[in-house]
């Protein structure tokens, strides 16, 4: 039940973000699906005791790969799918907690939380970059194969 609820809500949230960013109507379902996929991976990893940073890294990697597949399939810019998928992973809650502790003059906890939020943002970036690198490697090998044959 818990998982089902998250499935549905993350799909809705990602699709709603597609609307906020004016994504084409035909790509809303796909961007919702990408968001759902990423959030599911994140939730499953954190539920089984993985660190939030690692979970974010894997989730954003999968999001980027799925977006690349969709971008190829539907011949649309990849950014449409990536953005909707990434949004749920953004450490908004942690940044909020950090801010709250700063306001309450609790600098030790605040700095720790801020560092964690920064690491999670870095993990999102790393996940995207990894998938980009792999995509370029695949493309390069495909081109060299074509030119050899």
């Amino acid at each position: 039940m818990y998982i089902l609820q998250h499935l549905l809500l993350s799909f809705l949230a990602a699709a709603a973000f597609g609307i906020i960013f004016n994504a084409p109507k035909s790509s809303l379902i796909q961007s919702g699906f990408v968001g759902m996929l990423g959030w599911m991976i994140y939730i499953l990893f954190t539920m089984n005791g993985a660190d939030a940073v690692n979970a974010t890294l894997i989730a954003s990697f999968v999001i980027a790969v799925a977006s690349q597949v969709f971008a190829k399939l539907y011949r649309t810019p990849i950014i449409i799918f990536i953005v909707a998928g990434i949004i749920p992973l953004v450490p908004g809650g942690m940044a909020y907690d950090a801010m709250r502790n700063f306001v309450e003059n609790d600098y030790n906890i605040a700095l720790a939380l801020a560092a964690k939020a920064f690491l999670i943002s870095g993990a999102i970036a790393m996940g995207i970059v990894f998938s980009e690198v792999i995509n370029q490697l695949i493309r390069k090998t495909a081109i060299t194969k074509k030119s050899e044959s």
Partner: protein
């Protein structure tokens, strides 16, 4: 003389395509790639462009002296539909389906096209997203409606204040202050339960997710100037939201 005019027409088409894409929030490398592709499709041997978030410099080398043009970009919004449309037009140009005149007309049509969704639908989407994020961050269903309302109103106020005062930082700051006050009121009246969760959920539609992803992708593609400036913009937005919430929290 005749040939000169053709080169200028090609530049016009390339710059229009680049301008629309940049204003709609495409990545820098996609803008440069599209412009160079269009130029090549029209038979230009060498074209160079330098794209930053605030302007495009584009030059075409030919037998005559090099021609260079500069376009300044002041207003940037997020409209991924236009990015996809320009992408489609450029694909058709490279396939040789459009000549210069037709391409220019197609791009002008794209530029003049209205947003895909009306403002009300966008506000509703922001409201729904806020509610969904509340539950996704382990909030309780009691807070669902308050989060929807604060998220929707927060998004609306950011849009409204941006129209009144075109400084992005200010409108986001005011928007998050309104979100903070509203959530506090909801909790105080007993309609909402967890203040933290409501604020986090309703702030999510303002989060600079697109800027963040674009900044990373630009940096990795080697566009250091645009990558860093987009990262700075994302940081500024995050700072505006954070300080707006902090102002409210410090008065509680």
């Amino acid at each position: 003389m005749e040939k000169n005019q053709v080169v200028y027409d090609i530049m016009e088409v390339c710059l229009l395509a680049g301008k629309i894409m940049l204003q709609s929030g495409a990545e820098t490398y996609r803008v440069e790639d599209t412009m160079e592709r269009i130029a090549r499709a029209f038979g230009v041997r060498e074209a160079h462009c330098f794209v930053t978030p605030t302007g495009i410099i584009f030059s075409i080398e030919s037998t005559e002296p090099t021609k260079t043009k500069l376009v300044r970009i002041t207003e940037r919004t997020t409209d991924l539909h236009k990015v996809a449309l320009v992408n489609g037009v450029s694909r058709r140009i490279t396939n040789g389906e459009l000549n210069i005149e037709k391409a220019f007309r197609a791009l002008t049509e794209v530029e003049e096209s209205q947003l895909t969704y009306s403002t009300i639908i966008q506000i509703l989407a922001a409201a729904i997203a806020s509610g969904c994020f509340l539950i996704m961050f382990n909030g309780s269903w009691i807070d669902f409606l308050p989060a929807c309302i604060t998220g929707g109103i927060g998004f609306t106020s950011v849009m409204y204040f941006h129209r009144v005062v075109p400084i992005k930082f200010f409108s986001e700051f005011i928007g998050s202050i309104i979100i903070g006050i509203l959530s506090f009121l909801f909790v105080n009246m007993g309609i909402g339960v967890e203040l933290d969760k409501i604020i986090i959920g309703s702030v999510m539609p303002l989060v600079p997710g697109l800027l963040l992803t674009n900044a990373v992708r630009d940096l990795m593609a080697g566009h250091l100037v645009s990558g860093i400036s987009k990262g700075a913009e994302a940081l500024l937005t995050a700072f505006a939201i954070g300080s707006g919430i902090a102002v409210v929290l410090s008065f509680l």
